[in-house]
Structure formats: C-alpha cells, structure tokens
Symmetry: C2
Subunit: 433 residues, 2 copies
C-alpha cells in the first residue's frame, strides 16, 4: 500500500508525523473502524468502533467522580463475561443527560448488537448472536448537552461496513485520532512480549487533554492484547498498573465524569493457562503492560491543554507512598509552580510552598530539592553549588524533571504533568464557542 504518510497526516489536519509513533498493525481478534457522525460542525472522524468477532475478556477502571456519565453507568451494569464491541464517541460526554442519555445508549447497543449479529451470520462459520449486554461505551466531550443518539445510530451502518479482519497502522492511527477532543496529538503505544514461549502483542490508544487528574485516571485509554487471559486476571493486572501510570498524571487537578481505561484480551494466542496475576509466566506481560500504560499516560500529560513543557515530579524517601503521592500532586497541581515552569523560571520557592501545603509531616532540615541535575536544596538549605543562571538555562528544556527528597523513609512516587500557559486559558475560556 503506497500511501504517503505525511499526506495521510495532513489529510487529517494533524501536525504530527507518522514517524513520531510506534507502528501498530494487526492484532488478531480486534477490528477497528472509524467514521464521521457529524457530531462536530467540521468534518472529522468522531465515532470509533472496536469489534471483537469472537468476543474479548476485559477489565475496566472508571472515574471516581460522584457524578458519572450515562455510559459509565451503562458499563458498570454489564455483567456479560465477554464483550463484543466498544463504541466511542467524542463531542458529547453523555453526562447529565438524564434518562434520555441512558436510553440513547440502549438504542445504540440494540442497533449495534443486531447489526453485528447480522454480520456474524454473513461472515462466520459458527455465527453467534451478539447481545446489547456485550457492548461497552466510551463518551467524551461537553457535559450536559443532549446526547446525539440519532446521529451516532446512523453512523453504525458505516462503521460496520468498514470493518476489516486485518488491521494496519493506518486504522489504528485513525482510531487514535477519532477519539480526540482538544488533544493536539494522537496517543499510541505498543509492546510485544512472551507469555511462556508465545509472543503476544499489547496495543493501546488514549486521549486526554483537560480534566486530567487521577482517581482513577483520567481520560480514555484502551489497551488490547491477543493473549489468552481471563477477565479476573485482566482486572488484577489493570488495577496493579493503573496507580503508577494513568493515576500518576495530572494536568489541571480536574476529574472528568467519564474517565475510563479498559484492557481487552482476544484470546487468539494460545498461551499456557494462567493461575492469577502473580503467575510468573505473566512477569514479562505485566511489565510490558506497564510500559504501554505509562507511555500512553505520559503522552496524555505531555499533550495536556496548552502544554509547552512536560514535567516529571519524583518524590523520594518518604515514610509512605501516600506521603510521596500527596507531595507529587501538590506540586503537579499548583498553578504557581506550573506558571513558573511556563515562564522558564526556576522559582523553587513555589516548590517549597507546594511541598508545605501537602499536609505531609516532614523535617525541613532533611529536605532536598533538585531541578534536573542541579542541586537546589540540600539538608534544608540552599545548596552551595546552586547557580541560578544554570537553573534558568535548564528551565528552557522541553522536558523538566523535579526531584524532592524527604530523607525520612524509603517510599517514593512519580507523577507527570505539564506547565500552565495562556494557551490553557484560551482553550478553556472559549471551549464551547
């Protein structure tokens, strides 16, 4: 297929190059299709369908918000062991849309399950009936606007028509783009690893941008593997890895009503049977999954609304991981720290402020702070080697690392965020206009 990649990107109106991304290709058991349901005034793919022709085991983590969207409510009620499809729409969060929003999903699930059952009859040797109860939904966009059930319903026929049983990097890229809202870049990650002697794939896409703050995570993330892994083990693997990946990022301290990260296994690779998530055969898979989730999370933080810099905050030697995490997020969510970073100002006094307000007991005399490799505070005092000009030069980097060391224990946490720029205000003051 002789497609010019850069033209392909240009045609999607994106300012990135295909070579910036890993190449995802075929993953057995997953079909990806995207189309335009006219949810935006501008033409773009705004609905994405993942279809599992033989079903998939799955696990999800959802937002911890006390006001959750209708699709999250729907997903929480799914009691089928396997799912057959995941339908994602952008532009409308289907949150605070009341019973109409929920009924809309029912209509979509019925249409989709019926049409997919028809497709099964045409394509499969042993067609199975697909139930509404096997459809998951992800929605993202504005809260409180009427859910565009009809437009999405109409798009289902096109989505199904486009289903192919062999995937390539273009369709993954289209899917990664189709789920974006105010994100500037698609987010894609992949790893391959062995379970026993079987090579398996782990592919993921995500979207983020605003309202990026953990508990659970943030944003939307969808990860697929061709390995054979029961849902219960997927759940454990996802829970174990979410804390230091999607739950470690924050863009603005705001949490969405719609956050969702799901992990699907198509069971196409017949690896050996697994006992539980601690099974040694899963060691490699576990760390590959962590890599995919971390890669996606970092891309979400780096592309946070208005971001000009990616910021990594590592808090070390705390009494508890909870302490380390509190300080991490106190820094990551501090508008004063984030604006200083935007201004390329090594204003470490604001880091001090953010540490102080985190309500973690500490000994100021043991505190150490480092900006990149530059020691700023040692034993609670300005380091003798600290040179502000050197620090100011470092702050010009695109990727900034901040280290805080309490010297009180052995626990640590790392969080990821971005700076706070005028662009963030522009994007969010004018979001709906």
């Amino acid at each position: 297929m002789a497609i010019n990649l850069d033209n392909f990107f240009k045609s999607m109106g994106e300012n990135s190059k295909m070579s910036d991304f890993q190449d995802l290709n075929h993953i057995d058991g997953v079909s990806v299709s995207t189309t335009c349901a006219d949810l935006y005034s501008k033409k773009r793919d705004d609905v994405v369908l993942f279809y599992f022709r033989d079903g998939a085991n799955y696990a999800s983590v959802y937002t911890q918000s006390k006001l959750i969207s209708e699709n999250i409510k729907w997903n929480l009620k799914i009691n089928s062991k396997k799912v057959s499809a995941l339908l994602i729409n952008t532009r409308n969060a289907n949150a605070f849309t009341g019973t109409d929003g929920y009924k809309g999903l029912k209509v979509l699930a019925e249409t989709l399950s019926y049409e997919l059952s028809q497709k099964q009859k045409n394509d499969e040797e042993k067609p199975k009936k697909i139930e509404a109860n096997e459809i998951l939904f992800a929605c993202t966009g504005t809260i409180g606007e009427n859910f565009p059930t009809e437009k999405i319903q109409k798009s289902i026929y096109d989505l199904i028509k486009k289903i192919k049983y062999t995937q390539n990097k273009y369709i993954w890229m289209k899917a990664a783009m189709g789920i974006l809202t105010t994100d500037l870049k698609p987010k894609i990650a992949m790893e391959e690893c062995y379970i026993g002697n079987k090579l398996v794939k782990i592919y993921g896409i995500a979207k983020g941008s605003g309202m990026i703050y953990p508990n659970m995570a943030t944003t939307l993330g969808f990860v697929f593997t061709d390995a054979t892994i029961p849902s219960a083990i997927l759940k454990q693997l996802l829970n174990n890895n979410i804390e230091k990946t999607f739950n470690a990022i924050s863009c603005d301290g705001d949490t969405s009503t719609n956050d969702m990260v799901s992990l699907f296994a198509t069971n196409k690779v017949s690896n050996k049977k697994l006992k539980n998530s601690k099974d040694k055969k899963l060691n490699e898979f576990n760390s590959a999954l962590f890599k995919v989730l971390l890669n996606l999370s970092k891309r979400v933080a780096a592309d946070g609304e208005g971001a000009s810099k990616f910021v990594t905050i590592k808090v070390k030697n705390c009494k508890t991981e909870e302490d380390a995490k509190k300080i991490c997020f106190s820094i990551a969510n501090s508008p004063l720290v984030k604006t200083a970073i935007a201004g390329e100002d090594p204003n470490w006094g604001r880091i001090i402020m953010a540490i102080g307000k985190a309500k973690v007991n500490l000994n100021p005399r043991k505190l150490a702070i480092q900006i990149g490799k530059i020691k700023v505070i040692e034993n609670g005092k300005i380091s003798l080697t600290y040179n502000e000009q050197e620090a100011a030069n470092y702050m010009k980097e695109k990727s900034i690392d901040l280290f805080v060391n309490l010297n009180l224990g052995k626990k640590e946490f790392t969080s990821y965020t971005m700076d706070l720029t005028k662009k963030y205000i522009e994007i969010n003051a004018d979001y709906r206009t």
Copy 2:
C-alpha cells in the same frame, strides 16, 4: 489638611479612588508609619510599622503549611502577653532563608525594641522598656531569597521618626498600600459598634493576590480595635470568625508559607469587663468583627491575581458543613470552572464535574444548580425554564453567584473566588523577572 485625594492616589501609582474605600481615621493606641526600604528596584513604601505605645492584647492565626517562614516561627515563639509593635515587609517572604533569616528578625527586633524604648523615654510620662519579645513580624514576597536584614534595619529609624499619635485616613491608606505585592488595590475595612454603652472601632487592612487558599486563611490581615479585650478572648473571637471569612476564600488553591491574620486590642476604651467570647456584651462586636474580616476577605478574592470577575459559591442543604465546604472549594479551585467564567461561558457541565470530584456522597436526582437567579438544574435535570442565552448574558456581570443545592440536609458554606485569566499566567510566569 487640603490634600487632593485623587492626586494622593496617583502619586502612589494606584488606579483606585479614595472614595472607593471606607474612611479609617484615628484609633487610640495604634500608631502607623510606612517608608521605603528600597526592597524593590522601583521606589515605593515596602515596610510598615504598627506601634502600640501602651502595648496591645493580640491573637493570630497562621498558615497550616508544613514549611513555614522564619517570621511565623518567630511569632509562634512570642510568649509576651502584650505586643508593642508589628513590623511588616514586602518583597521578601523570609521563607527558606535558614538560620540567617531568623537571625535577621532577631536583629530587627532588637533594633526596633531599643529604638522604641528610647522613644518611650522621650515621649511618655511613665516610659516602659520594650523587649524584642514584644515585636511581631509579617513578611510577604519571594520565597528563598536572602532576607534583606540590613535594608530593613536602616528603615527602622525613619519608621520611628514618622510615628504620630494621631492617625488619619491617609496613613491607613499608605499602610494598606505598603503591604501589597502583586495586588492591584489596597484592602481596607472598618466597623463601629457598642460593647455595653461604649462605642468601639474595628479597623482592618489586608493583602492577598496569589497563593490564596485557606487553612488557615491566606494572605496577610491585620485588624485593630480600641476596645478592652483580653488576648484569650481575642483568640476565640478570631478563631470563630476566620472560618467563614479568610478561610472561605481561594484564588488558586495554593497556600503560602507566610499566611497570617492578627487581631489587636489597645484597651483604650474602658468597656465593661468581658467573661469570655460568648459574653452577650460581645454580640455586636462579634458581628462587626465578622463584617470587617469578610469585607477584607472578599476584597482579597476580588483582587486575586489576574481576576476579571468576583465569584461567590454558595453550597446549601448538605448533610455536613464539611461536605458543603468540600464542594465549595472543589468549584472554587477548578481551573476549568474558572476559565469558563473568564470566558463568560455558562458551562454548567464543569460545575457538575467539580461537584462530582469533591468526593461528597450525593443523590444526583436531588441536585439543583443556579447561576445567579437562573435555575439550571432542578431535581438532577436541566430546568425546563433554563435558557442558555439568558445565562450567557448573566455571565457578563462582574460579580457571579453560583448556587449548589444538594437537598440532603441543612448545612451550608459559602466561598469566594475569582476567575482564571491569561493575566494570572502573565503575572505568575513573569513574577521574578
């Protein structure tokens, strides 16, 4: 004294008019003086002295940060029952300045107490020796820069030379201006009330701007009364009133290392002896004090960095006040809500988001939201009378009221904040340059 008020303001480089403020005049037992200690590159008054010639009873509340400035450490060690002076400097927070910063305060306290003792000998019939232990300090400005002890020490002579025993509105205005950092407007408030049959005054000044988030409060606030009230009762009165005033405002969710609100009583009015803070004779004083503190707090929020709008958030009918407070601050600190307000967009979905992430148990079906007088959500659904254009018109107002009603109990809380504008980023990305 024929001073042109507007010229007076213009000479201070301020864009406000004297008529925007209440007139504070003489309060017996307090002398106010201000001068320029050259702490800024530009000439301005940057040190302010409050001198109590016969001492003052006092009470203070301080920041809840785990990393506190050297002057807060100093103040916490003061064990004298009466204080004789309060010295305030801007530009330098004296935080994370180590032992040098603390020693600097000792030098200043010794100089100031010595010079004030000399003044006592010259001016008073029964001169008393003023001790270093009777001096309070407030500092505000950049964290982590060397404390300019020498410059401030030199300014003490001028501050003392300028002490007058009769105060007028100009000197209070100069003091209110002398303590500002990035604030645009001085903050002044006053009330008069009776304790028994004695009329007493309550005068206050404050500064705020950034790092405005409670626990305690925020910012600097100094309140003076000529009433006779023991320190223990002042402490109770301050604690009772701080929660719904200085602790109810938030500009950016950041908490300073230096926050401090103090209440001083000069005992010049011989009102009847008071039993405790619940003494009925204090009812009027208590509500007048609340008014002064609330007035100052609102001025701090309204003048939050980059603010273009003042926002009042009232959360009603909660099970506990703590629940109401959590939701209040979740909204007040949400960058997405605050940018929507800056954009004059009635994006109530973001209010929903902020309510949801506050971790308060609620019943979505009972939820009601109002923007100004406009009903947006009733019984968890969009109000039938809701008209987005009407809401958009309301959002153009300078002062925005948001109401959230959980309909679950009887407790409520009100918080005050401002919108989040590009100006905030400008101020804070370039603060030190």
